[in-house]
């Protein structure tokens, strides 16, 4: 973590409660950045939550992780990663944003719904034989591929 002085940056134009500008994303990836516009930081938190929901939805769908335990673990990881981000990486004062709870619930329900949608979409793909068919296709027609990609010998015996 950077322990240097916070640099004061000129305020960047920001669409209130919308998609953060590219400058906000570069700040988001910098440790201990200065956030003059609170809405901008909250938008970054929101969109990070959505990204986490997509990534975890894909992982949970492919593994697959079923049952309420999977959902509980998602909630914990989602809340935990963002908590570490804003408290340790960005080192912001939670009281400026209404407390840890306000930051935790920013975009949480939307990310949860997104996670569920991705999980439900992947369920029939993982449960079906799509992956088996794909693997067979690659193995069967691999002999037409350049030598180092040809895996057709795996079909024999």
């Amino acid at each position: 973590m950077s322990g240097g002085r916070r640099k004061e940056e000129p305020p960047q134009p920001h669409l209130a409660n919308g998609a953060p500008k590219s400058s906000a994303w570069s700040k988001a990836l910098r440790s201990d950045a200065a956030w003059e516009d609170k809405d901008e930081f909250l938008d970054v938190i929101y969109w990070f939550r959505q990204i986490i929901a997509v990534v975890l939805g894909v992982i949970w769908g492919v593994v697959p992780l079923k049952g309420f335990v999977g959902i509980a673990v998602f909630c914990l990881i989602n809340a935990g990663i963002l908590y570490l981000y804003f408290s340790s990486f960005q080192q912001i004062d939670e009281e400026d944003y209404g407390g840890t709870w306000e930051l935790t619930k920013e975009g949480f329900m939307t990310s949860f719904a997104l996670f569920m949608v991705i999980l439900f979409n992947l369920q029939p793909v993982v449960d079906s034989d799509y992956f088996d068919k794909l693997e067979f296709f690659i193995l069967r027609f691999g002999k037409d591929l350049p030598g180092h990609l040809d895996q057709s010998h795996l079909l024999d015996g």
């Binding site: 409660n17 919308g18 809405d39 079923k66 369920q123 449960d127 079906s128």
Partner: protein, 188 residues
Amino acid sequence: MSTMFADTLLIVFISVCTALLAEGITWVLVYRTDKYKRLKAEVEKQSKKLEKKKETITESAGRQQKKKIERQEEKLKNNNRDLSMVRMKSMFAIGFCFTALMGMFNSIFDGRVVAKLPFTPLSYIQGLSHRNLLGEDYTDCSFIFLYILCTMSIRQNIQKMLGLAPSRAATKQAGGFLGPPNPAGKFS
């Protein structure tokens, strides 16, 4: 299974389209009007001002200061009410469209299992997740449950991406007036 996957994707697509349709109708009827733009700017300005004032006020603040804040809150409440009245037009139009659309989709997907849930939902959710489905397998998912989840995730994100979500300060000061539209409802 492939039919179920196709149904799931179709419902996600329907959700995206209906979200865009709702925002499109609202833009035509509300967002592009001068009255709405003026009211929205005014509400946001007042909300931010009021929030700053409330942060700096102390317990020992004079009666005059507190009265000033009350007057500002009243003014903000009136502006929020006017803003809600302006949005009412689009709400009726969208409600009408969506009633027709939902009726159509419900009849298309009636009795069809559109997804498999990775868990058995709680009993009070089963009424929604297993609606109009035969059998006792409560991991079967009905159209309406998946559509509600899709709308909750997709509509809010589309609103934020397009910059059409109301500002947080305005939402906080307004309470129920300017809250984000209920994502679980079929009306906007």
